[in-house]
């Protein structure tokens, strides 16, 4: 299981060990190396796979790789076209990136909880958290990026004055401007926070349950981890899908003039 120092502390130590990041630096400048490493590797896998499909892309009979890539492209494009009615070069690729990246993040959750930390432990790495989406930094990085895009497009489409008007005069008209402003600010800020926390919460809880199952006697573990893993296949896809769809929805809201 985990390193002996933590095994001595019992179940609590085991859980804490699993949920501690491998990090360097102090204070704000701490870097979670495991999160960075896995998200870059998973991003590279995503890019490599799609680049391969894109290089061989043909309008004739598609190969297996292209077929799968096109399946995802059509799926994402369908989602974007359903919600977003403007024209944008960014939104569809953004949605595809989010869906695939988040899915791959979450997919790391399906590796048995001790395998990768165990291997890392053998190589002398003490802590390893393999699921990037159980790190708030990873989920907030995406949601804050999306938030910046929301602000950017709101100002770009509506103009700075139009956007300010929307913040101040909606939904209750100019007589309640301070109240409107408060409401709107909360609404806008809730977007990235809810995006990030929803994904983080789901995956963190899921991972925690896997860890708890791993604490049980070995003959009970399969009975619990097997159904939970199958259920998790749904969860990880669903969470990636939700993150993508909400991004599309928020960005299309930013494009709409009320």
């Amino acid at each position: 299981m985990s390193t002996e120092a933590h095994a001595a502390q019992g179940a609590t130590g085991y859980i804490i060990h699993h949920l501690t990041s491998l990090s360097v630096g102090e204070g704000f400048w701490r870097l979670n190396l495991d999160t960075l490493f896995f998200s870059v590797v998973l991003g590279a896998i995503f890019v490599w796979f799609f680049k391969r499909a894109a290089d061989k892309a043909t309008s004739g009979v598609p190969g297996l790789v292209q077929n799968f890539a096109e399946l995802l492209i059509e799926f994402v494009d369908g989602q974007v076209k359903d919600t977003f009615h403007g024209k944008s070069q960014l939104i569809a690729p953004l949605a595809l990136t989010i869906f695939c990246w988040v899915f791959l993040f979450n997919f790391m959750d399906l590796f048995p909880v001790d395998i990768l930390p165990g291997i890392a432990g053998l190589m002398g790495v003490e802590y390893l958290r393999v699921v990037p989406s159980t790190d708030l930094n990873a989920t907030f990085a995406m949601s804050i990026s999306v938030f910046c895009l929301i602000i950017f497009y709101s100002i770009k489409v509506k103009g700075p004055i139009g956007f300010a008007k929307e913040l101040m005069f909606q939904p209750f008209g100019p007589w309640l401007t301070p109240f409107n402003l408060l409401l709107k600010l909360v609404e806008e800020i809730a977007k990235p926070i809810s995006l990030a926390l929803r994904l983080f919460g789901n995956l963190y809880a899921g991972e925690l349950i896997f860890i708890l199952i791993a604490l049980l006697p070995w003959y009970i573990q399969p009975l619990l981890s097997f159904p939970w893993a199958i259920f998790h296949i749904l969860i990880i896809t669903l969470q990636a899908f939700i993150f993508m769809v909400l991004t599309i929805v928020y960005l299309s809201m930013a494009h709409e003039d009320h």
Partner: protein
């Protein structure tokens, strides 16, 4: 657990991924999809056009066949007519030829009859002479009684 500089690293990674997807991944794949859609649509349209052309061609074929039938019927009737004419002609020819053959045969027969008559006349003359010589002995001289002999032979002719 807490927010730290990892966030910035993750944002940079995310931005790079989105940029790369936007620049190198989405356009070629999406274009190939659109192109395939167009190809399929074109193919379907072409198939439909082909079907229409088949119908047209069938109609045309029926017309051509009918024309050909009419024409062949015409040719057959012409040929029949011509054949009848030829038969009639040859009947006529045969009739003429037969008549001609009959006439020439009759002429030949007549000629042969004449020859036979001439021969017979000569022989009868000599027989009669011989008989008369027998009967009359030396009394009749050929030179003296030429007139009588000629009369006799003329009566026989």
């Amino acid at each position: 657990m807490s927010i730290n500089a990892t966030l910035i690293g993750q944002m940079i990674t995310f931005a790079l991924l989105v940029w790369f997807t936007m620049k190198y991944i989405w356009p070629p794949l999406f274009d190939s999809l659109e192109e395939r859609k167009k190809k399929i649509a074109d193919g379907l349209a072409a198939a439909e056009k082909g079907q229409e052309q088949i119908v047209l061609a069938e109609k045309k074929a029926i017309i051509v066949l009918k024309e050909a039938k009419d024409r062949s019927a015409e040719i057959v009737s012409l040929a029949q007519k011509r054949a009848n004419e030829i038969v009639e002609e040859s009947k006529e020819n045969a009739k003429h030829e037969g008549e001609r053959l009959i006439l020439s045969a009759k002429a030949q027969i007549d000629q042969e009859i004449q020859q036979a008559k001439d021969g017979l006349r000569q022989e009868v003359t000599s027989l009669a002479l011989a008989a008369a010589q027998q009967i009359l002995g030396a009394e009749i001289d050929k030179a003296k009684h030429q007139d009588i002999l000629n009369k006799v032979s003329n009566q026989l002719g």
